[in-house]
């Protein structure tokens, strides 16, 4: 039904893993010694109290924020080219990257052209999956918070990528939209895709592994300057 769009086109991914990851923000060590491994069709749920680094970890996984220590691997090969890694993933955060002056379908088709190639059928299916079809020609500035978020999520379906990184994807969504997202995730995983979700709710990924970031928070507040290594701080 709705998720079939990406069934055929998801690139098969082997695995995505990280070893000994550490990250600091503003001199503070957010987490350290963090390991994870995800295989095709797998899902990982990031949990932890506010400020435990869920969003930061997602940005590290996306290659936006450099990790202070540790390595990440894609198909057991260490990731050294951030641009190549970026092509394998989609990141959805609370910043929805929506231009209010463009219509709903213009917003979506821009990202589609950027990542893939224009394909009207696929665009319509993505709009349909998140119940946006009747809003397609409306300027995005008229959308409610929930509708904007649905539009952001529809980006997942316009161009295939094996790894989805979702930051609190349930925020501002109604029950029907949550179900739509859960279906999209299920279809994505069935096609061999991987999903990493930072969420307090378990609804989207029922059978995924859980990574509690609270466990990796340093017990004592550690400050160190740039020239000291993380190993020393640990």
């Amino acid at each position: 039904m709705t998720g079939e769009t990406n069934l055929s086109q998801t690139t098969t991914a082997g695995s995505f893993s990280g070893a000994g990851l550490a990250c600091r923000r503003g001199g503070r060590l957010v987490f350290t010694g963090l390991n994870f491994k995800l295989t095709a069709g797998g899902a990982l749920v990031l949990r932890g109290p506010n400020g435990s680094g869920k969003t930061t970890l997602l940005r590290v996984m996306a290659g936006l924020t450099p990790s202070a220590a540790g390595t990440m691997s894609w198909n057991d090969k260490v990731i050294d080219d951030p641009d190549a890694h970026a092509r394998n993933l989609r990141l959805i955060t609370h910043l929805d990257a929506i231009k209010p002056a463009l219509t709903v379908s213009e917003n979506l088709s821009f990202w589609m052209t950027l990542w893939n190639k224009p394909d009207d059928q696929r665009l319509q299916k993505a709009l349909q999956a998140f119940d946006l079809s009747r809003l397609a020609s409306y300027p995005a500035r008229l959308l409610s918070a929930g509708q904007r978020h649905r539009l952001a999520l529809a980006r997942l379906l316009v161009a295939p990528a094996p790894l989805w990184l979702l930051d609190e994807p349930g925020n501002a969504l109604d029950t029907a939209s949550r179900d739509a997202l859960a279906r999209a995730i299920l279809a994505h995983r069935a096609a061999g895709g991987m999903v990493i979700v930072a969420s307090h709710e378990a609804t989207f990924v029922s059978d995924g592994e859980t990574l509690d970031l609270g466990l990796f928070t340093p017990k004592t507040v550690v400050h160190w300057s740039d020239d000291e290594s993380v190993e020393a701080a640990e």
Partner: protein, 221 residues
Amino acid sequence: MSVFSALLARDLRLALRQSADSLTVVAFFAIATVLFPFGVGPEANILARISGGVLWVTALLAALLSLDRVFTVDYEDGTLDQLVLSGAPLPLVVIAKVLAHWLTTGLALIIVSPLLAITLHLPMEGYAPLLLALFLGTPTVSLIGAVGAALVLGTRRGGVLLALLVLPLYIPVLIFGTAAVESAVTGISSDGPLLVLGGLAVLALTLCPWATSAALRQAVE
């Protein structure tokens, strides 16, 4: 290349839908220039003497007014994160954005500049060199401005900081832009200054997109 054209088309469409932004820049250029005859007095020969310099200075300030927007909106709404993650070479993304900026502001300034030159009594021989100089100089202005705009992302009062960062770098463009107009007016060939402006544009095109990319990567960390 699809990234380049998609981004350029989107930015131009946005500029068209929000045309007030570009019009503000042109209006600022016009008003700032028209202030000079009031301040200096209506004597044609004095105005003619300073017209090239006045037009260049006001054009630079007008361009500066618009630079603030080049990356700020994309940074604040998360588009920049997605553009960095597009997997396309970031300098290419930067060139597309700068080209869109130049088409919507630099080109607009060039188009209205002959009208404003009339109010400053620019001698007839000065028009062609003025347009050529603006045509060669404003891309450099956009390119250098992009570096500054990317560097001040995420800072408070970035607009003022941007002016402090970027205006000193505009001095070479200003010197040779004005020289092109003045040498034509005094009857000397303006080829020299124009060639230097062209050289500056090539230099800016080869350096600025990479510097801007580095600043953008820093900003999305």
